[in-house]
Amino acid sequence: MAKNKIKEPRYHIVKRTEISASKAWIIRAAALLSALVVCGIVTMVCTGDNPISIFATIFKGAFGTQRKTWITFQYVAILLIISLALTPAFKMQFWNVGGEGQVLMGGLAAAACMITLDGKLPNAVVIILMILTSILAGAVWGVIPALFKAKWNTNETLSTLMMNYIATQLVAYFTIVWEVPKGSGKIGIINQNSNIGWLPNIGNKYLLSILVAVLVTVSMYIYLKYTKHGYEIAVVGESQNTARYVGISVEKVIIRTMLLSGAICGLAGLLLVGGINHTITTTISDGQGFTGVMVSWLAKFNPIGMIFTSLLIIFMDRGASEISTAFELNQSFADILTGIILFFIIGCEFFIRYQINVKKDSGKENA
């Protein structure tokens, strides 16, 4: 901090030994509140509207009508599945920022089944094949960087990142191969008339993704908390040397966890292509592979906490896009607001982990 030799620092930062859960949540809530205030001010400057109607518009964008509410929850479900997929990797300190590519590959596999098997096999068989291939494709895309990491300790942040772009170009390639009509550069709705490979509607067309998300959340919670695999992931994340010492094969854990991580991303791709959009584009995952990293981290890798963090992100996102539509601004406004909220929440973790002691005049012991 300040110049130590001349005068003693006026404050002193110490690591908290423990903090009550309620106090931690008060700090987080305060950070979120300040973030919302700053977001309100920024929006006010850009639109000239008053803050109350700004927040009313945000709320209307996310929960204004029954349909909007369903769509919001569907978005939350997809983001939640992707975040949950990344979580076991992060818990073992493997920075999988390749969610984007893994989702795309899952989606590509599903689209491939829908297009090539249309009219050749019965619908049920096509759907089963879609589920298998998209999970497999995601897993393969996730395990390639894991193999490099396990064998040669290749930096996984950069290798997973490169895999994203390779996946994007693969999708771009097949988009042109399968484009309808020729020369449009788009695939359009696949099997619009036969509906082959469209995942079945449960109740309404939004509920399927939400149910899958609930299932994945509960399973991931149990997997991480109560199984041997989950425990091994935690040990590897804390210290690879400790893990080796107690006889855990670190390489095996890395490969196994990334297979799982990629497989669940592939599942998200399946839902996006087979259940929601019924088409594939290079931007179908819309940056959620990256957003998922932050959702997962903000929730401290806790699957239940992720329900709230993904809801928060989607809520702001949908709300901000309502504002940009209402004031004819660019849709990227949502990213700015999301960024502001993230900065505040990232920053507030400091006050949860550390304590600032302001120094009094008389000498306390102070290293």
Partner: protein, 330 residues
Amino acid sequence: MFSLVAFIPRAVQQSVPLLLGSTGETITEKSGNLNLGIPGVMYVGAISGVIGSFFYEQSVAGGELNGFLAVFIPLVCSLIGSLLMGLLYCFLTVTLRANQNVTGLAMTTFGIGFGNFFGGSLIKLAGADVPSISLSATSAYFSKTLPFANSTGWIGKLLFSYGFLAYVAIIIALIAAFILKKTRIGLQLRAVGEDPATADAAGIDVTKYKYVSTCLGCMIAGLGGLYYVMDYACGVWSNDAFGDRGWLAIALVIFTIWKPDIGIFSSILFGGLYILYLYLPSGTHTEYKELYKMIPYIVTLVVLVITSMRNQRENQPPKSLGTNYFREER
């Protein structure tokens, strides 16, 4: 017809943003900060310059631009914009010790959003009466080539046909390489990146080194964004046009094994790979072009794996890369 004299200048033009980005990131990483926010910083650097020059062109309104101000205003705006991003990153990761990966990704989300938002809404917000952001007058000053570029034949075309920021990029890379390798400041910076606890014990101000190198790195990277929009794109802002160059710049750091002077040549190589798809034959199959566009990423991945396979001591990333330093935590 493939012509090397036509190909190389285009590759060099592609390489400048990559070179500036990777030089900035190298300096940052040498202090132990893995700044994944560079793509966002480059967007902010670009749009800040655009905003500055947009208002300057508006204020002159049809009249003649002052050549010095036309370059100076966007340059300063761009530097300030990326400096603020750098300070934000340092405040969060160095002072508040937040996770570097998450902070960087949040900065990228924010920065790209910031760029696209102001790029898309600037005209409406400023109440200006123009159909799109097209700063061709300013761009003309940025892309002015050296006077003898056209009179010296192919040599002129290869060496002198670029805007001044291209030469600035090379000079910055050389200076950065010199400082890192040969000076005391460079030695101390590397010490901070390798082992901050030891550096701290030796009396080096770790916080100061991390702040200065990260902020400088961001400012250099921001210039890459400015070059792209003012010179390469002729002053026309279009959303998401800058694309993934920020991520490629980060990958290039590994490709150059943390040496900015090697970066000059490897960025030109990358620039070439980036536009290679335009030159490879694909006949009637336009879809092959999409496969060719994969080449730079596959090459990066291969290099990444090979450097980790060879595992030589001098080719490794700074040891404390990605971790934050807290004096009382040993």
